[in-house]
Symmetry: C2
Subunit: 233 residues, 2 copies
DNA sequence: TTCCCTCTGCGTTTTTTTTACGCATAAATC
DNA sequence: GATTTATGCGTAAAAAAAACGCAGAGGGAA
């Protein structure tokens, strides 16, 4: 068996990814049921070791996280960003394993089971099973970061389908921020900022007035981002 | 020579720290002139390898960064936080070296030369020398983070002396955010929020009306932080 | 001393943004 | 056709932000 020798001790390095999705009502994350020790049978974030050699080795941690994400969801062009490293020396019982945590925003509807789909499952964020390692801590951190991000960027771009109702968008905001907004003021602000534009389509089927569909205005969003506007409630 | 052997390749791991200081006018960071290759003679962020063994080995990356900070500034109870990991496989010519970047806020007046002070120097943030490795990128990232932080927390707590004038506080805000505020509105808001309180002391010496001194109200600050108030302009 | 320059402290007014809430209406159910 | 439910559009009050006026202290210069 090939071995690798250094003059100083080196920690192992993995990446993990908190993959957020939204089903129209609740915020969810994609978890994997571990098939091997440690924490066998526990649910865990998708992740794996940094690939430092071989044909398609990783050039950096983001590369590695994207590879894991692709394997698990089949998606390759999604929003993904590094959270931070989790480095406690005892976080893995085997050896000192540093993990570089990331988070991604995906459309649940676009996710197809990955290479080993059988063990991947969307779980409600507000009702997670016990997680392996320090993954609960990572998830908490990711939620905190997502909330901060939402104050400056409409993350709905990446979590919602192209067309959506105003109520769905508001549900998303409320699910992420954990608070309630006034329906009329929410709509007014979204429209006023120009972030969403109304389509001439409506959704029927529900026992109420048929709501319009909306879509994001990417140009307007880029414009606001440069100006540094806060998209805040 | 002792060696360390693994079944998979492991990257080396360091921590680096962007140490911010404020001299009343400009934002500064503490840099070290490198005495050894690579980048010998270049300026670099204080940092070093994760200590994985020995008597006082690090328990995590933060531990390591604090140790470096203490060595360089003599300070041990300062604000320090992880930024994120920088992981490009080619960022160090020697081998794959991941660095976990941190940033710290210190009072320049409290910093005494560290163990190897001769090579440490405060540099104006807006006029940095060429930096080693990807350290310029790390600094840029740290500034970005500091700006975000300032929107929700009065970082002056950690960067200013206990007593300061309103103008000094405003200078700090302007130095960090890179914009100008109206003097009267700035003061009004700070006082209105209750974050600072006026003392009965004034500063004489300058050819103008003697300004009052102020100090932070820590209790009020904690109160606002829990309520999630944005301290924003 | 007196004039002058600078920056401070304490205002006011205007504009913009946020918050609170009223009400008629369309779609489905009974 | 009546009822229920959530939608679309609107207004008024409250709060926050932005713009700006002005007298005054403290030192320097004539």
């Amino acid at each position: 068996m090939k071995t690798y020798t250094y003059n100083h001790p080196h920690p192992a390095v993995t990446t993990d990814c908190v993959i957020f999705g939204f089903d129209g009502e609740k915020l969810k994350i994609l978890l994997i049921e571990r098939g091997v020790a440690p924490y066998k049978g526990c649910w865990a974030l998708p992740g794996g070791f940094l690939k430092m050699e071989g044909e398609n080795k990783d050039r950096d941690a983001l590369d590695c996280a994207k590879r894991e994400l692709q394997e698990e969801t089949g998606l390759s062009n999604v929003y993904i960003e590094q959270l931070q490293a989790f480095t406690a020396s005892n976080r893995d019982p085997r050896e000192w394993v540093i993990t570089i945590a990331h988070y991604a925003l995906v459309r649940i509807s676009e996710v197809k089971g990955g290479d080993d789909a059988a063990r991947a499952e969307w779980k409600d964020l507000d009702n997670l099973p016990a997680l392996a390692f320090d993954h609960q801590q990572i998830v908490d951190f990711a939620v905190k970061r997502l909330r901060e991000k939402l104050r400056f960027e409409p993350v709905g771009f990446d979590l919602l389908d192209r067309k959506f109702t105003m109520t769905t968008l508001q549900n998303l905001y409320e699910a992420i921020m954990g608070v309630k907004y006034d329906r009329r003021n929410f709509s007014k602000k979204m429209l006023y900022l120009g972030l969403v534009e109304r389509l001439d389509e409506k959704v029927t089927g529900a026992p109420n007035k048929a709501p319009y569909l909306f879509r994001f205005n990417k140009e307007r969003y880029e414009e606001l981002k440069i100006k540094g506007v806060k998209i805040d409630f």
